[in-house]
Symmetry: C2
Subunit: 345 residues, 2 copies
DNA sequence: CGTTAGCACTCTCCAATCGAGAGTGCTAAC
DNA sequence: GTTAGCACTCTCGATTGGAGAGTGCTAACG
């Protein structure tokens, strides 16, 4: 890594860049001509041989050009990381889109997924921010008919869940409202732990509802991330490396199943600090299905309060120069938005 | 259509069936051997020539076997329609899965999409049931902090929407609760029309909230169907006809965009009677993107109250014998579920 | 008259072949 | 350290030549 000469470094970067653009193995001659190097092809060949020796390049067959290995990409990305910036015009366009959309989490997520997919020409995933410390805020009980009751539960942070429950016997709306009012006072701002520590309620209805509330809150706490938004699935098929359907199918399948996807996103970036960007190249030897792919992922939100994850999946040959700053920028934007809506609690 | 002899009919059905199974053009010899026909290949050839003449079959090239045309498939499907039944064991398994899942619309939709995709090996789409006559049921106003207020709106039928709004100035939770209570009494059971006919409210807060409620209800009314659930996207790539990536890509793209998808589903089956099944073969000359595909779609729910749509997309060569009864069965199941939760209103 | 055997014909598919082109590694000279 | 020259290797595309499958037609058969 460090034992590369300056010339080797620039050469390696050029090769990776060229291969990302053309999807073709890059040869010495092409390199010289295309980038007007002040060196002869023969010299380049020597350097390329050295880089191959060191594991940064690979030849698909004896006489094709060179192709970056995962190590090669990794080097490229490490250079990119602290340098790539999104053009200001693009930044403004994106910001604009966000500010123009409603103040609705759902829309933000969809928009973020759409922007990521478009900019990167890859498949995007965004998980809704998840409140890390689940706290009760408000409950509402609405009688629908007979024994059916609609329970709407609001958590601190604005997460809302609804559930239809069937009581043992019909209960009037009046009594339901009283129960809700009672619980709202009693439970205001409590965490799960605080609620379980509460003495048992004498009223049977109170007890039942309380149990359901706890159940809902636990379910909410279990989720490491919220709902999943994805976009750009069809981009998978445009990439030349996915002519081999089997590879494409695997990756696509991974992304078609929200559960797996969420798992992947959560696990790779678990506990990751917000703002930090992570680039997974070639599945990092762990995810067989992603052997040919790369992912750029990041966490966003307010640590300790509410965070979510977002990322882009593409071929290993994806345009990092474009994707990395975009992911970073959108993550920042979402963090701000989350911050604005959350900190007021 | 009617001028087919009995023998031609059985032959045509066999050919379509065989081609669906093997994905290969079917020849006269194979047909005789594989189905132990009491005829010689030569006779079959004559009949096949006739069927080709009539437009039910097609030869990809001079000397390949025959392949069904869209008309051929259509004939096959029309035979299938009132005959195909889902094995009882499968029916039970599916019912079981539904009854085991929670009484949650969200879960039902996901489950339905998953079952359809699995059974048919195609891509499934399900739209949540949509209340056709939007009526107010309940509103809840919850102060989050300062001027931010969370409004939860419940419509008759259980549809819930939430929205964060920012008031001109801070308002106490007490005042919000009063406002909500007042509106709940005033608006109970009203339709959009009835609400607009209401005399203007004197209280400014009442007026603002009322406007927002109306806005939400209108938005809800505009949607012909609810949220979209889909599954089995990766199945697209397993089908041999999608080796030609371009076709696959088109169809996939169509399904990747919820908006388009919803439009397609709604338009094809708009006003269709619940229970009726519709089979779109080869895009019916209208949808260019689906030239190679077929869709089996149905509406479910309670007409005039709440209906949704569901369907399966696959290659034109899809297993109708499997897909048609599955779609029909799942539609029936969902109708029952919707009926159970809705009629009690 | 419907059915069947036989046969010539057509077309695809596959494998083998071949030459062009690209790129390399090595050696020797600058 | 850099470069020119050259022999070598390997892929890719076009071409070719069966093999195989399936057809349509004709003539014979019951």
């Amino acid at each position: 890594m460090t034992d590369l000469t300056e010339r080797q470094k620039t050469l390696l970067l050029l090769i990776v860049r060229d291969h990302i653009e053309t999807a073709q193995p890059v040869g010495s001659k092409r390199l010289v001509e295309h980038y007007r190097l002040k060196l002869s092809p023969a010299t380049i060949r020597n350097e390329m041989a050295a880089l191959t020796e060191m594991g940064y390049l690979r030849q698909p067959h004896t006489s094709a050009g060179r192709v970056p290995t995962e190590a090669g990409y990794r080097f490229f990305v490490s250079q990119m990381m602290d340098q790539a910036v999104l053009p200001e015009t693009v930044q403004r366009t994106i910001s604009h889109q966000f500010h123009q959309s409603g103040a609705d989490m759902n829309q933000w997520m969809t928009l973020a997924a759409s922007i990521l997919a478009h900019q990167s020409q890859g498949v995007s995933v965004v998980t809704a921010p998840h409140i890390e410390q689940v706290k009760f805020k408000h409950v509402e009980l609405i009688s629908t008919q007979g024994r059916q009751v609609l329970m709407v539960l609001v958590l601190v942070g604005g997460e809302v869940s609804q559930q239809i429950l069937t009581l043992a016997e019909p209960v009037s709306q009046e009594r339901l409202s009283q129960t809700a009012a009672r619980l709202n006072v009693l439970l205001a701002g409590l965490t799960i732990d605080a609620m379980t520590a509460l003495p048992a309620r004498s009223d049977a209805l109170d007890r039942d509802i309380l149990t359901l509330i706890l159940q809902d809150m636990r379910r909410s706490a279990e989720r490491v991330s919220g709902e999943i938004y994805t976009d750009g699935l069809s981009n998978v098929l445009t990439e030349p490396e996915f002519i081999e359907k089997e590879e494409a199918r695997r990756a696509l399948k991974l992304f078609g199943e929200p559960a797996t996807l969420k798992d992947l996103l959560d696990r790779t970036i678990a506990g990751g600090n917000v703002g930090g960007l992570q680039v997974l190249i070639g599945g990092e030897g762990v995810w067989e299905e992603l052997r040919q792919c790369s992912m750029v992922i990041a966490r966003y939100g307010v640590p300790g309060l509410a965070t979510g994850a977002l990322g882009v999946l593409g071929p290993m040959r994806m345009s990092y120069a474009r994707t990395i700053p975009t992911v970073r920028f959108v993550a920042g934007l979402l963090s701000d938005l989350v911050n604005d809506t959350i900190t007021s609690e």
